[in-house]
């Protein structure tokens, strides 16, 4: 998996991941403004409609995308999508699309747990993280946990999130409050371990 956002923005792309498929051909998944493009040997072999898929993650036989939008089905939230990946050709088949929690708008980043059973999304606009379950068939379930970040006089804007390879921790960056946060992840729930918020003193301790 490659993160090449800075480079890709110059080219008008939003995100990309790549994987080896079939006869060792490298297949790339490239997010554009309104689609996910499947590319092989520099050629677009499939184009799947999407909405601002700014972060793509491959996990097992599935590709997950987070849609950087402020409104989904009339509600104030972003959304996530899942696609089944054909093992031979790398082609995508849509499996599901799911809205985030209310106010979790403009999500920027998503992480798939190493066991493939959960997604964690960083919602830049809403200042929160969402946890969503994933079934063995790649179906994304309803949000099971929403964690709202309250900054230190600043409005939080979670920007990226990733799993520690053990699957027991999440590392997240927030460009609104200029912090790196660490969460414990256990039984599908995230709990902050890096700091406690002291509201009486208005401090992070």
């Amino acid at each position: 998996m490659t993160s090449r956002r800075g480079f890709l923005q110059v080219l008008g792309w939003l995100s990309a991941v790549s994987a080896l498929r079939g006869a060792s051909a490298e297949v790339q998944y490239v997010g554009t403004e309104d689609a996910i493009e499947v590319r092989a040997r520099g050629r677009v072999i499939q184009r799947v409609a999407s909405e601002r898929p700014v972060s793509l993650e491959l996990s097992g036989h599935f590709l997950f995308a987070v849609n950087e939008i402020a409104e989904f089905q009339g509600l104030p939230s972003g959304s996530v999508e899942s696609f089944a990946v054909d093992g031979e050709t790398g082609w995508l088949t849509r499996v599901s699309r799911r809205g985030l929690s209310l106010s979790a708008t403009m999500p920027k980043s998503l992480a798939v747990s190493p066991d493939g059973r959960h997604l964690v999304v960083a919602a830049y606009g809403g200042g929160s993280y969402n946890v969503l379950p994933v079934t063995p068939t790649g179906e994304i379930g309803r949000v099971t946990q929403a964690v709202k970040e309250i900054g230190c006089g600043q409005v939080a804007h979670p920007h990226s999130v990733m799993f520690h390879p053990s699957g027991r921790f999440l590392i997240a960056t927030d460009t609104g409050i200029d912090r790196v946060s660490v969460f414990r992840f256990s039984e599908g729930r995230m709990t902050r371990v890096s700091y406690q918020f002291d509201s009486k003193r208005g401090l992070l301790t």
Binding site: L102, M106, Y124, G125, A146, K148, I150, G151, C152
Partner: protein, 514 residues
Amino acid sequence: MFASIQEQDPRFSTLKRSRNLRWPVSPSDSPHFIEVCENSEDVVTALQRTVDAGMRPTVRSGGHCYEDFVVNNPGGAILDLSLLKAWPLPGDGDRYRISAGSQLGAAYLELYKRHGVTMPGGSCYTVGAGGHICGGGYGVLSRLFGLTVDWLSAVDIATVEASGKVQLRRVDKTNDPLLFRACRGGGGGNFGVITDYVFDSLPKAPREVVSGGVSFEWATMTEARFVDILLKFGDYFETRGKDEDTWGMFAALGLDHSSGGGFGVSLQFCNPDGTCKDLSVPKEFLDRFQDCGAKPQHSVLRNGRVVALNTTPASACPGEHALARQVWLDATINGSFGDGGSRAKYKSCYMKENFSVSEAKCIYKHMKRTMPGVDLRGSMLAVDSYGGAVNKPALLSETARPQRASVMKLQFQSYWHNPAQDAGRLQWMSDFYTDLYTGENVPASYSGTPYPGKHYEGCYINYPDIDMLKYPFWPQLYYGTGDIYPMLQDVKQKYDPHNIFHHSMSVRPKQEKA
């Protein structure tokens, strides 16, 4: 000390419900905590704890929210204010203080017995003051006295600062004036937790009122007569109803679906001095319907709906009306408790003019519509009189309620019990509404909605309808096309910078730059 109720508590399954039994849709929508607060310190403590835990707070007073804005709060906390009492503070002087947790009926009793005054709020006893007032607070006395928010002088509200700290504020015309304005009609669940409403003065309660009405049978109804009745009702409020001597009259045209047997017009009236010495206004009004095959009807308003007490078989002659005289307090309190929870759906529309003939025909069509397998009894369109004291133009810039030029307010309602009827009921109302607001009175780009213009003035935020969210212009339906919604967004940014208070129809933060 307040009660913090969690899932294992036997009270949880009862208290997690909404009065509209469609919500919550599934158990996973339910909160983790229901915090039953008794005073404003409890509110501050519970809110701070919720925010510190990264959870979402929603706020409940009476539990009458039409949509799922409160009880759909997965993993969050409902702050239940229904036990919150208003404690007079030093410095209150002669001011009136109403707790956000108070039921309207209890507030009317207290204001009347202690002071002889009242609020021009809603007619349902068990509606909570918290959501009702901050959304406008319209009721039977509003033509005479205006909206409840028109009288509001100050609000005590707990907000969450940018630092994350909960702050209890007293807001009024000089302290946090924009937040105060936002609380005067902006609607619930937007900016913080209101704990008290304060009024420097309130109108004197009427001494007595008369109730009366006429009823019509569907069995003998024709389209032409139906159209005639609607146009006569609407014409009155577009013309004669603007005269000040009529402002003491509230009238409702209760159009029940034809599966229900009949429909009727009913009224409550007092003279502007709060007596019933001169009944020429209601008599003149009821005279309009005498050649429509009307039957005089002893009726009373219950829970915002017209209930017939008995019906005299013979058709009345002009000038002969069944007007039942009642002490105002009895008319206001008795029997208006509502009939417990049911499944329900609502929509609304403000009208600045009388119905057109094509609108009346469209209403007739949907009142007569039958749908295979769908029981439409308990479905209705209530057309309420509006205007009078509400329509003083200066109130537009003082409050957050834009509807100041309407003469009627329509409430589409349907009540049922069987979840299997959900889809059919919603379909009937959606088809009806879309059909009615498509055509000559609505520009094509706003088709399907009563978009503010010459004929319509949008919708009432206290009758929220999430079907409107599919239109990007939904804020203009509820808040008008003027400065109110941008003002509310400014208030959101300043007083709830984290957007902690939100639901599907709350004031949205200005679009963030990614």
